[in-house]
Symmetry: C2
Subunit: 453 residues, 2 copies
């Protein structure tokens, strides 16, 4: 992980000085020194009047650039602090896809008040993009792509490109469409620059364009773009009409967000969906309590198991000493396995057809780990001064629980995907909980057998 | 997560048919239909003679393109199956940074045997890149950038660009260097296309170039590139000499890998560093056993706690019923908190200066969750038919453990970062283990007090 510190107070002081001197270039340079989210944090803490004067000093374009690369929720927080007219001016300067993300974070009434103040074409573009659900490829695309007709020559295409270059999100791919706007090919800037002027576009374009449907999942689109090493991915409707493009920086954002959500799920809570520092205790509690209660109910089963073996426990109190150790070890093994398997599934390395292979691999690993931990468990039992038979019981259970935890953690996520349930619901705490109850049953059954209880 | 299935057997059959017909275009089109790692998996399972014939049918360039976008370890597995001459030809066609990653995965003798078969300039480029540790910006950069002298005009720069475009990794940024090769500015392709032909490069270039030192951490570089929405990031040495560039697709790869490593660490194992299906049980066990034993030793402490409270346990066996439930709940709360905090730190949302804010937030959340779980715990005690006083003990402990787990999980990662220890060593299992022992002490102290033991 990167280690980075920014002194917000020092930056704010410097910004005030620059604002007092009314030096726009210095203000922009100052802001550019930090990642956009940090820059916004600095602006966010200014009093309203100072903020207004700094924003007008920076200019709409410079502020738009910062907001484009910031988290949408963070950007929205700043936007609502501006006047509607100021907010409209800044949103006009932003790329339509980024502006749409910010507008979608606002209260509907607030969003509408700002949209009506915007210039017609920019507001229209945002309204059109708002039609697509934000988790889809359509919700991530920008309409600012460059497309040329299939009938042009390379130099005509270059001339067309020059006219639109200032507005387009990326000019590095030029898409080729037919008379109905259907995607038929793609040219890279490199192809255009290298080709002889009179060459028809159709002769140099690549016909087999990697593309994605607007209703596809945003993660599918992002991973496709990343896997193929593309700088942009065209988005089409069911009839292959070119609607927009997703750029590499947006794809990286999507993959980051999805990794965050997967991690939060693996940790046993629902995804936060806002930056951590913006989430209050109520939001955090709401995201966590569901799973916590469900796991509590599932774990409550361990109480019944222990009550069922009350006689054994009363006969050999020493058995109690090892309960947390054994179920803890099972939970740890399960957590290691499930995290690795879930991530391998998320990045596309493992699929349902690999179930048997994964299971064999994890059982073999579980046997190795179980053997080592059985020895460790026997040693621990010896240091606690219990009888050798109890030691043997604890060692056998440690090995068995390792194997069992690895099996559950390896197989469950793949089975769930087969059932079309998002395997990320299988969190480390869930595996731990499942292994706790079943592990205790194994423990006492092994104890009954070895200690002849 | 994306849901995708590829039928390896069907693809292999089709590939064989295409190979028999000696149709290179069809073979390439077939391979392009899948993500590179899957395409390699198909090739990887062919017998050696068939592989050789398919590879020669595809051509070095098409195979190089697949390998460039595949995981380096996967690519290396395929490379060693080719003859040294064939491997050398394919590596020559690859971008030097990707080729270097693959060569670094090979046995040193094998790598040397292939390198000596390669053309001099390509082999030299790889040897130079191998100097930089693979986890640094230098280890991720490609030397195939485009740079022009500060004294040129825009049209001279465009002409220079046209000459090198075919070899360069990205031609979308043109870097400007002084006579000593120091980075002094950057031009986008857009600037060049839009500027009037006679304009000096110095008049249109941006001087304040976002750059990274070659010895910087690769994640720092990748996050900088992603945060600023750049397509490439220049890499310089201590004297600002331009050494290479990191492109957006490589940055996305870095962020994916780092997310995978963080997740594996959070799950309680050391990072695998190879694709999951390539890791055998021995590798998996080796990555997991260290933490597992350490956690086992730490958890063994719970045995001592329980033995210390042996009299209480013997007096009230019912106290045992709730041990897994209480420590499990503490572990779950801790897991939720630590996952969220570690991820927020990884993406740069939270830093050490936020320690107090994070702690207050998590304590408030812990109080909310603790209150709900105390009620749930009392209800569970009641259904198990224990005395109300035991119920009260269990409820109080549930609330207290929630608060305690949230505190430990929120504060520990930030403190470790302050001590320059990678906070990702704080796994969910580690928090669970820490809370288990301390939680039991709380449980029995509360029991002693409320039950007057």
């Amino acid at each position: 992980m990167a280690i980075e510190q920014i002194d917000v107070d020092a930056v704010r002081e410097e910004l005030r000085r620059v604002a007092a001197e009314r030096d726009p270039a210095a203000a922009r340079a100052l802001l550019r020194r930090w990642p956009p989210d940090d820059a916004i944090a600095v602006l966010d803490e200014l009093p309203a009047d100072e903020l207004a004067s700094v924003v007008s000093l920076l200019g709409d374009e410079a502020l738009a650039e910062v907001l484009e690369h910031a988290n949408a929720a963070t950007a929205a927080r700043l936007i609502v602090k501006l006047s509607h007219a100021q907010a409209a001016d800044v949103l006009e300067e932003m790329a339509p896809d980024d502006a749409t993300d910010v507008v979608e974070e606002l209260e509907p009434a607030e969003a509408e008040a700002i949209l009506v103040q915007m210039d017609r074409p920019e507001a229209e573009a945002i309204r059109e993009l708002m039609v697509y659900p934000s988790e889809t490829a359509g919700g991530r695309m920008t309409p600012d792509f460059v497309a040329v007709g299939a009938g042009l020559t390379v130099d005509q295409a270059l001339a067309a490109l020059r006219r639109v270059a200032a507005e387009a999100e990326t000019i590095y791919y030029v898409y080729v469409t037919d008379a109905d706007g259907r995607l038929v090919g793609v040219l890279s800037m490199r192809d255009l620059v290298l080709a002889r002027p009179g060459t028809p576009v159709e002769a140099v374009m690549v016909r087999d364009v990697v593309r994605v449907r607007a209703d596809a999942d945003q993660e599918t689109a992002a991973r496709l773009l990343a896997d193929r090493g593309l700088l942009a991915l065209p988005v089409v409707d069911a009839e292959e009409h070119l609607l927009g493009i997703i750029t590499a920086d947006d794809a990286a954002d999507v993959l980051e967000e999805e990794a965050t959500e997967d991690m939060e799920r693996l940790g046993g809570s629902r995804p936060l969906e806002v930056p951590y520092l913006l989430a209050g205790p109520l939001t955090l509690a709401r995201k966590r309590i569901g799973w916590l209660l469900l796991l509590f109910v599932a774990e409550a089963y361990t109480g019944s198991v222990l009550r069922a073996f009350e006689n054994e426990l009363q006969a050999v109190v020493a058995l109690t000493f090892f309960i947390p150790l054994l179920i803890g070890t099972g939970g740890n093994t399960g957590s290691q396995t499930v995290t690795t398997v879930i991530r391998a599934m998320a990045v596309g390395e493992v699929q349902f057809r690999d179930l048997f292979r994964v299971w064999v691999k994890e059982v073999a690993t579980g046997l190795l780990l179980g053997a080592v931990l059985a020895v460790a468990a026997f040693a621990r039992a010896w240091t606690l001064g219990v009888s050798p038979n109890i030691g043997l019981t604890v060692a056998t259970t440690a090995g068995a629980i390792c194997l069992w935890a690895a099996t559950v953690a390896a197989v469950l996520p793949l089975l769930l995907r087969r059932l079309r349930i998002d395997p990320a619901v299988v969190s480390a705490p869930l595996i731990t909980t499942l292994v706790d109850g079943t592990g205790l049953v194994m423990y006492f059954e092994i104890a009954r057998f070895l200690l002849r209880l």
